[in-house]
Amino acid sequence: MTHLKLLGTTALALGLAAPAMAQEIRFMCYSDGNECEVYDDVLTRFEAANPGVDVIVDVVPYQAILENLPIQLAAGSGPDIAKVTDLGGLSQYYLDLAPYIDRAYWEASFGDTLGWYRGAAGGDAINGMHSQLTITGAFVNATLFEQAGVEMPGADATWDDWAEAARSVAAATETPFPMAIDRTGHRFAGPAISYGAAIVAEDGTPTLSDEGFAAFTAQFVEWNNDGTMARDVWAGQGGATYQDAAQEFINGELVFYYSGSWQVGRMDSTVGDLFDWQVVGSPCGPAGVCSGMPGGAGIVGFSATQHPEVVAAVIDFLAQEDIYAEVTARTRNLPAHLGVAQAGVEFEGASPAAAAALSAFAADLADVAPSAFRYQGYANNRAMFGITAERVSQAIVGELSVEDAVARMAADLEAALADAQ
Amino acid sequence: MVAIELRDVRKAYGQAEVIKGIDLSIAHGEFCVFVGPSGCGKSTLLRMISGLEDISGGEIAIGGEVVNRIPAADRGLAMVFQSYALYPHMTVRQNLSFGLENINTPKPEIARKVDEVARMLQIEQLLDRRPKDLSGGQRQRVAIGRAVVREPRVFLFDEPLSNLDAELRVDMRGEIAALHRRLENTMIYVTHDQVEAMTMADKIAVLRLGKLEQFGRPLDLYNTPANLFVAGFIGSPKMNFIAGQVDTNDRTLMRLDTGETLRLPVTGFAQRAGEKVTLGIRPNHLCASDDGPVTVHVRSVEQLGGESYVYGQTATGSAITVHSPGQTRIGLGDTIRVGAPEEEIHLFDSDTGLTLREA
């Protein structure tokens, strides 16, 4: 009885929290920097142009997008719009925007990235807008090179060359770590492809155990064990936990840091005048491929929404060239919008170093191997990322031999594919 | 008129029967004491009357109304507990008024009644204290006050004095007796102490193993105990018992197990020839005399000045206590002979324990 009573009184108390809007659109957003703030800001313009529509940006921890959103969607209780990173994995819940938008404009503007949102089903639906294109690549502490008097390897230098150079720089400058790669299967995939891994074959068959993949795994484990790679990053964590090495790089403790374009803003604001840094793109593998991994996040609508036309309108609004350019500039991201990319983006308040870095990353897009694009668009890539991080770590800490780790990855992938059916 | 009637009252916990059919009637205004050794069921019986314990069989009537199905709160009784069971978080005043509040008594009336009871029990100065700040005797008074203030039909006391020291006990005994005289309510009082029973009761119910052994006035119980158990339980020091057998030929001759013989009164007892019997004599009726029929080896002697106790054994090991006024010359290790006047002898059937009394 008390419960009912309590419920009654608090319902009154809470009543004012949710004014009933005619068309309330929920946008579940996460930020790596200021993305959600910027979206919230530009969407006020949309609201002004569309009276009666209220787009509420719910800023949630990334963990909520990654772990909870899929379950909510499955239970039919998701938001209307979300910013997601598991582009293909959630495709079954996406709203097809095609009936509400100008297909020609979208196809011209977003091209191949539209395919990433179609998942395993394929087809020609327009499911989402790639809002932030990223590409993996290396940050280098130029000051340390200068101090050590070591020549920086050139544009088509291999991973071996860079390892060699980074080691000698670290030795000369007493820097603790020559190299580091973020702990995620996504970052690992770039160099692996450069070493000849197919990962996702042209017919769409995934593999984590071909020769190229095994070769880079062996090389990476060796580098972790001989001190070339900062062991903390991969060995310090368990499971598929993400771990970066940005802090070490910012502190000047790291010579060569393989991360991605999203770190530019942070480097720009926190490194300051501690040292000079620059972006050198992705080194090449023995096979001559110099691929990074594309990636990023996109904005999608969900088919369970009450107001599909409004959802489509919101996303279409964000996809307009001027808005897209503005958001890209303010959030310091690489544009996936081809028109915006062609026109070039004037990054707001970016230092010359940051601007140079962003252009370097943009230029590196050309080197991205087709299999890297296929991997990014592959529906089960998240499972593969997890398997990579987990098993490679085990090989590094010695729980598994490299051969066993590769065999386990193959088995895990097989099981995951079977379960995902 | 608040008489209490128990008719074949029974209580069982699963298979174990703890009250085995008790019939009892307590008249209005009587002070009735339930006495018995531990485990005899006296507290259980009290709790059944109070309504705190269910009744498995039979019925209990209070004031003519069968209360078997009436919950404790509605029986119009008040109870004083062994541990006092004062509400530790309430002041004395709150303790006293709690019950009145529960029956929605108006506030001024509560205050009036509490003050009146406090005055009566001389606890006025304690009203704002909490139980933990009171002495044992004070707590006892508060516990009684809590019972009194609600003006119940019947008072129940569950060993209320057992947590007090000897001196205080005697005082409280008197006060409870005085309270009874003053309120003239029916009271039921449970104790294991027969002295309390003897000094306070109008009627005593002696219980053993869930059965009523005897119910009557204190002196009746003392003078004419119904059986061996009551005889042994009532009276202090305990009655002396000597086992023996009635001579097969002579009904008035008793052959003690010690080998000695004793002459029984010709009238008054219903013993049969050859029957196994137990002789009972109260210590104060025994006296040492050279022609006494029983030989006693003295084990210890207590000289209290005004009176003296001699403890000894018969040849077969039965304990014998002799109580005599004044001082005695009997010493440790002596062997004495003792006897008693015929009219003070009790005789029991050794098998049934029942008093052998002439019909």
């Binding site: 368990g238 771990q243 | 530790p88 933990k132 020291d165």
Partner: protein
Amino acid sequence: MRWPGWPPTSRRRWPTRSKGVAETKGQGATAPAPPPEMTALRGAGDGFALRLISPVMRLVEIPMIALQRLLGINRLAWVFLAPNLLLFGLFAFLPVILNVAYATTGGANVMLADRPQIGMGNFERLLDCANHLDPNTCREDKFWRAVWNTLWFVTLQVGIMVGFSLLTAIVLNGKIRARGFFRSVFFFPVLLSPVVVALIWKWMLQRNGVLNAFLDWAGIGGYNWLVDAQWAFAWSVFLSVWAHMGFYTLILLAGLQAIPRDVYEAATMDRASPWRAFRRITLPLLAPTMLVVLVLALIKGVQTFDEVYAFTGGGPGTATTFIIQYIYEEGFAGSPRLFGLSAAASLLVAFVLVVLTLVQLWVNRKSVDG
């Protein structure tokens, strides 16, 4: 210095009068009653709290009295139990039942209706091992690594934690000034959320953390603790003991305070050495409390997850991956989400816990009765 609120020698016990014992107590003797000392909310606090809830309570009383008349006193117990049982039923038992349903299905769909029945398939998959002692030979090697890690962890953590809790409780039970203060100190970490606990120690132990700074200063030299499997494991045990021992210390302290002091005085008169007094008096009399502590610590130990997950993420490698983390990752955080497998694993854990608890109760049966 005395802390407000608890006199150092206070003994919060009532005169224990359980049925049956009462009548044997002091045949005609005059045992002075132990004062019924109670630490209830005092004075203004009491009145205030009561006045606050009394209107609601009075309102509830009306239907409750009706129910009492209807049901009688003992059956009224169910009414008191009902709200709690309802909550338990909905949010504890029902999920477990659903988990059983999940455990027999496969695939990655969330809704039960969409999931194919695979019978005992998930259990077979979990238990499929060439050699159960070597996780590398198992189909679900991560499960078995987690199992063995958990086993080690629980053994060490429960042993060390109960040991230190007992030690602390004994020290606190002595004649200590400011006992209340110290008691609170040891209890304090219990209040920290697991994530905060992990964060604090991560911050202390990181490569450039304060511990390494101290070791460098002391000339011992720092160490990269969390990259070393053994050390990471050891620190996980430490952190978990640090965070939880206060709770068990208090339970044990309550148990110690319930042992009457005169028993020790008697032992001293019998010339028992302190060690002997501990072995022959404290431990046996503490056994029932100890049992509760052990059962609770064991259950909670097996369920260790948040703090270690936030601390090491289960690494290095799988060195600190415990069973609940495995369940969480397989069923919730991982991809694809294997709800069936994770539900099956959770049922296995619950089963093992129930068995372990029963074994503990059975083994300790004697000492508890005694």
